[in-house]
């Protein structure tokens, strides 16, 4: 592998899509992490890219009951047979959730989201009223327990005024609640192992969380402006004093996505 580990190294000839940039940026955030719980959807491709680039020793944990997966191909579903063959351990879901997740062995829970607010609280349940939803989304799956029990949470999602909202329609997974102070107190009182969300990667940039527990824009992807970001979220975002520009995808990153991980373009088109 020739990819600069975790760096924002100089990019590459040729075009790339916004989704490719998002996946690459998310993968790079995993540099240095040890154990990652892989959520359904975009996290799956981001984590698999990280395993092939910046984090070859990353242990992939799938809620389906797998620790130490070595998928020979990108699993389309997170319960694909390729995550079992050659894995370190395949166990019941009970043991996966009880011993690995709730037991505190997960460094990073990597989630997707339909809606997120400035404090990183997540909705994947409904758009509209719960009893009579405008859109019925899949629901929690393992997300609400991952959000509490993983040591930290990474989020990957596309950004839009409908998804980066002032107030989420349903809180499926807890983030920093109403702010860092409340969140810290409640985590302590209720004995959560997790410290909550630490990074959100979108198709426009990269956010981390500041001392108040609010999302702060730290990096803009190449070609994206602050105006683009403002136009794609419902609140006025905090912005780092000096916002960097994310390094473009390398040729190797793009090759891995296009040839190995997502040859049909299911994740990356657009």
């Amino acid at each position: 592998m020739t990819t600069p580990a975790g760096g924002r190294a100089e990019g590459v000839q040729g075009g790339f899509t916004k989704n490719e940039m998002m996946i690459v940026a998310a993968a790079r955030e995993l540099a240095g992490q040890r154990v990652c719980f892989v959520g359904v959807g975009l996290p799956n491709i981001a984590v698999n890219l990280a395993k092939r680039t910046v984090a070859p020793d990353l242990e992939l944990v799938y809620e389906a009951g797998v620790f130490g997966a070595r998928p020979a191909r990108l699993p389309l579903s997170i319960g694909d047979p390729t995550i079992v063959t050659g894995a370190t351990a395949a166990t019941s879901m009970y043991e996966l959730f009880a011993l690995y997740l709730q037991g505190g062995l997960i460094d990073v829970g990597f989630l997707g989201a339909a809606q997120i607010d400035r404090f990183g609280n997540i909705n994947t349940t409904v758009i509209g009223d719960y009893e009579a939803p405008r859109t019925r989304l899949p629901g929690s799956g393992g997300a609400c327990e991952i959000a509490i029990n993983a040591r930290q949470v990474f989020v990957i999602m596309r950004q839009a005024t409908r998804s980066f909202v002032e107030r989420i329609d349903f809180r499926t997974s807890a983030g920093n609640l109403g702010g860092a102070e409340t969140a810290e107190r409640i985590r302590r009182e209720q004995g959560w192992l997790g410290r909550g969300p630490s990074v959100v990667v979108t198709d426009l940039g990269i956010y981390h969380f500041d001392a108040s527990g609010e999302m702060r824009l730290d990096w803009l992807h190449p070609g994206v402006t602050l105006d683009d970001v403002h136009a794609a979220m419902a609140w006025e975002p905090k912005v780092a004093e000096s916002v960097g520009t994310t390094a473009q995808p390398t040729a190797e990153e793009l090759r891995l996505i296009r040839e190995e991980l997502d040859p049909t373009g299911a994740y990356t088109k657009g």
Binding site: S77, G79, P81, V84, G86, M93, Q102, C144, R171
Partner: protein
């Protein structure tokens, strides 16, 4: 299969066809549709395409679940039609469901037409929802005869409000509070497996999901297998046994019975099928047509497999990855 479903699955039952992505018994679901069961409560962590088909066919009045999607593809459209039901549609075009791999299947449901698949298929569908660990815990409490299962989840979320069966419980060792879910005891649990003996002692390898818990929790158990083996095969490796014959009411041999889901070592997940289901299921008419052709139009799984064609079947066969062998020792 016909006899097992006829005898063991009754109108109004709570039925769990379990298996997390792996070993989902589509063959049993289709037989339940063919036998026109009604008013079922269907429990599964991930309703998946099989419950989407069963809901479309009108067998269900309620779902108990934790993640409602077509894994790796998008939403479950027949179910969503019953849930989003009478509401006026609005354009949710750019809301990204956590389901979606790409930015395609994003919640738009404007294809809604006349459901036409019978009144049972268009009346409102009741939902009772948990998280994955909550569902597993429900089966485990049911299987181990406990009045509740405690877990660290749901804190500071809207789930306990949406489902009042998710309740707080205080530790008897101090003030700590965690959440609890109630036991779930299905009337019937149906699981698919690589192999069982004639007594029903069943072995699974690969993802184990929560089939063991769901089977032990149930009043009646149907095991569907790729292969019936001699009891000696099971007894040669007792650590692989997931369910003993003791709790099994029927063993059905139905090769390829889990398609389009998969059987570790025997066939691959048919991802193309899952992708194809998305456009089919977006329209009530095409959903109905599919059910007519592939479920009601065949006598059973053998005919379904034949219709699928040898080429499709062969394309799903994996290479070999043998487990190696261990020695239990002969002690006399």
């Amino acid at each position: 299969m016909r006899d097992a479903v006829a005898e063991l699955v009754r109108d109004g039952d709570t039925v769990a066809i379990e298996g997390f992505t792996h070993l989902i018994c589509f063959a049993a679901g289709h037989e339940i549709i063919r036998q026109r069961r009604r008013d079922l409560t269907l429990a599964r962590l991930t309703p998946d395409v099989i419950y989407d088909q069963m809901v479309a066919a009108g067998v269900a009045r309620k779902l108990i679940f934790s993640w409602l999607g077509n894994p790796g593809v998008g939403g479950l459209n027949a179910i969503r039609r019953r849930v989003e039901g009478a509401r006026e549609r609005s354009d949710d075009g750019d809301v990204q469901a956590a389901t979606e791999p790409g930015n395609g299947a994003d919640g738009s449901t404007e294809q809604e037409g006349s459901t036409g698949d019978g009144s049972a298929a268009s009346s409102p569908l009741e939902l009772e929802e948990y998280s994955h660990f909550g569902m597993v815990g429900r089966y485990l409490a049911g299987a181990s005869n406990l009045p509740f299962f405690p877990l660290r989840s749901y804190f500071e979320t809207d789930l306990p409000r949406a489902n009042p069966l998710i309740r707080e419980i205080r530790s008897p060792y101090g003030d700590e509070v965690v959440y609890a879910v109630p036991p779930l005891k299905p009337d019937v649990t149906i699981i698919h497996a690589q192999r069982a003996d004639a007594n029903g002692s069943t072995q699974i390898w690969g993802l184990l999901g929560c089939q063991k818990e769901a089977a032990f929790a149930a009043d009646r158990v149907i095991v569907v297998v790729e292969e019936l083996v001699d009891e000696a095969v099971i007894r040669a490796d007792p650590n692989r046994t997931v369910v003993p014959g003791l709790i099994v009411d029927a063993v059905v041999v139905e090769p390829f019975g889990a398609h389009p889901s998969y059987v570790q070592g025997a066939y691959d997940r048919d991802n193309m099928f899952y992708r194809d289901w998305d456009p089919i299921s977006r329209d009530a008419g095409s959903t109905e047509a599919w059910l007519r052709e592939w479920v009601n139009g065949v006598s059973g799984r053998a005919e379904y497999v034949e219709k699928l064609g040898a080429e499709r079947v062969e394309s799903l066969r994996p290479g070999r990855a043998p487990s190696g062998q261990v020695d239990y020792g002969d002690y006399r």
